[in-house]
């Protein structure tokens, strides 16, 4: 790869107390590429994304966004880099005290990119992009079904036209049909704006659908990475076991954590 990757992670380490979660992880995400990181529950997929977003502070290692080192960056600079990001949280993480449109327009108002009326206008446009009508705008998140909440969260993630969008288990907790609808939306939206995507999931159907490239996280490192088409001939016993969902194999589920 000659051009600078959008995201470049090197030797990333993160432990909570004595529990090592990320142990020297390396990963690259190219411009306009969609990388999906797969791995079992509790392997540190969310921790990886939170380190890149700056929500968690890595113990060691380097994270570069567009070639710019963000580990140890001063807060103000960091905020500027963070404006490139959009994030879809695992549980949606919608603000339940605010109506849907204010959720979607929150980042725009906060970054002073738009006044409140303008933000509402943009919010309604973004809601339309994820297939929700303007009548949803004035409802509260608690009044929506799980699938609709995911869509609103997706609209919020893309509201500020981010260059890089993170998806944390976008299909978890949805029925297979709704999951597929969300997958289609993710493909459509990242394609439309040419955004770079970093998703994490343990749902293989979702991974196959949205990924250009897949990487597998196991014991704090990326143990395999390759184009989506090659995942079935990875020749890696860990990947084989994971994609076929077998209990028997080299991966031992930690029953005691």
């Amino acid at each position: 790869m000659s051009e600078t990757p959008k995201i470049r992670v090197r030797n990333l380490k993160k432990a909570f107390g004595r529990k090592v979660v990320l142990d020297g992880l390396d990963v690259d995400v190219g411009v306009s590429e969609s990388l999906v990181v797969i791995g079992g529950s509790g392997t540190g997929k969310s921790v990886l994304i939170k380190c890149i977003l700056g929500i968690l502070k890595p113990d060691e290692g380097s994270i570069q966004i567009d070639g710019e080192e963000v580990v140890g960056m001063p807060a103000r600079e960091r905020e500027r880099v963070n404006r490139k990001f959009g994030m879809l949280f695992q549980g949606g993480a919608l603000f339940d005290s605010l109506p849907v449109w204010e959720n979607v327009g929150f980042g725009l108002i906060a970054a002073k990119h738009a006044t409140r009326p303008k933000a509402k206008e943009i919010a309604i446009a973004k809601l339309a992009q994820v297939g929700l009508g303007p009548e949803v705008a004035d409802l509260f998140p608690s009044e929506l079904s799980g699938g609709m909440q995911k869509r609103v969260a997706l609209a919020r993630a893309i509201a500020a036209d981010p260059e890089i969008i993170f998806f944390d288990e976008p299909t978890t907790g949805l029925d297979p049909i709704m999951a597929d609808v969300i997958n289609d939306l993710i493909v459509k939206i990242t394609g439309e704006v040419g955004a770079t995507g970093l998703s994490i999931t343990h749902d293989m159907a979702s991974a196959r659908k949205i990924a250009d490239r897949i990487a597998m996280l196991y014991q704090g490192r990326i143990i395999w990475a390759g184009p989506t088409g090659e995942i079935d001939r990875s020749g890696n016993p860990y990947v084989e076991q994971f994609i076929h969902g077998r209990a028997e194999g080299p991966i031992k589920m930690a029953v005691q954590v």
């Binding site: 939170k50 977003l53 700056g54 929500i55 905020e79 963070n82 404006r83 990001f85 959009g86 994030m87 949280f89 695992q90 549980g91 993480a93 919608l94 603000f95 339940d96 929150f106 980042g107 906060a110 970054a111 919020r156």
Partner: protein, 257 residues
């Protein structure tokens, strides 16, 4: 050996929490004085802390005033000093009972609610979501609540003082047979500015303690509904203990003058 280990562990945990709390408090206060401010949220919190707590605080104050009048009458009548009742009631209320009772009531009502709300936002990743939307959660969530606490408690205590004196007056006049105008006269005559001001300073300190504890425990909470429950309890208990101990410290400071 086991026992020493346990004592050591508890002591270290205590020191660690104290340190975290101190950092949290300094950071929260510094965000109170640095822009951007969120006037909408500050206003909402002021209404939440002040207006909605008034009934409870007023009710507590009126009964405190009534019981103070009865008890001081019992005491003073033993050495024929009944004329001091009105004076003692107003001193006790402005210097002690007003701020302490209001502080404890608000700890139960507002501190608990803040811990529960912020704790829920923490475990549902809403606080992380704020960070990704160009918003500092300390500034957006914590600073407005702390400002509301520091500003509203003195106002409430001032009202509580008046209501409490009124309670004492009712008992004094209708049950103990004081002359109405004499009672009010002696309430007023011996009251000094410092009595009221020291009570209001205490109130501001307690307002800070209650909101700080609510925010801190909510912010630190981990692990789902159970974690939020624990945060709520801890917020109320620690705020109550701190109110009573700081009450002594502040009284000592005012006493020395």
């Amino acid at each position: 050996m086991k026992l020493l280990q346990i004592i050591g562990r508890v002591f270290i945990a205590f020191l660690a929490t104290t340190g975290r709390l101190a950092i949290f408090a300094v950071s929260a206060l510094s965000h109170c004085v640095r822009p951007p401010f969120y006037p909408r949220i500050i206003l909402r919190q002021m209404i939440e802390v002040g207006y909605f707590s008034l009934p409870v605080v007023g009710l507590t104050a009126v009964f405190a005033g009534m019981v103070m009048a009865l008890q001081t009458y019992t005491g003073t009548s033993r050495f024929s000093a009944e004329s001091a009742v009105a004076n003692i009631v107003v001193l006790a209320l402005t210097r002690e009972l007003g701020p302490v009772l209001a502080g404890l009531m608000v700890a139960g009502r507002v501190g608990a609610a803040m811990a529960a709300e912020i704790g829920t936002m923490r475990v549902t990743e809403q606080i992380d979501a704020l960070t990704t939307l160009s918003t500092n959660p300390m500034k957006y969530m914590v600073a407005p609540r702390i400002m509301a606490g520091i500003l509203m408690l003195p106002i409430m205590v001032f009202i509580a003082d008046i209501i409490g004196v009124f309670g004492g007056y009712i008992v004094g006049v209708y049950s103990l047979g004081f002359n109405p105008s004499n009672y009010l006269q002696s309430t007023w005559d011996f009251l000094e500015v410092e009595d009221v001001v020291s009570g209001l300073v205490k109130a501001a300190a307690f307002g800070f303690i209650v909101t700080l504890m609510g925010c801190f425990h909510g912010y630190q909470s981990r692990g789902g509904a159970q974690g939020v429950g624990a945060a709520t309890t801890n917020a109320v208990v620690s705020a109550s203990i701190l109110i009573l101990s700081f009450d002594y410290v502040l009284t000592e400071m005012f006493f020395a003058k």
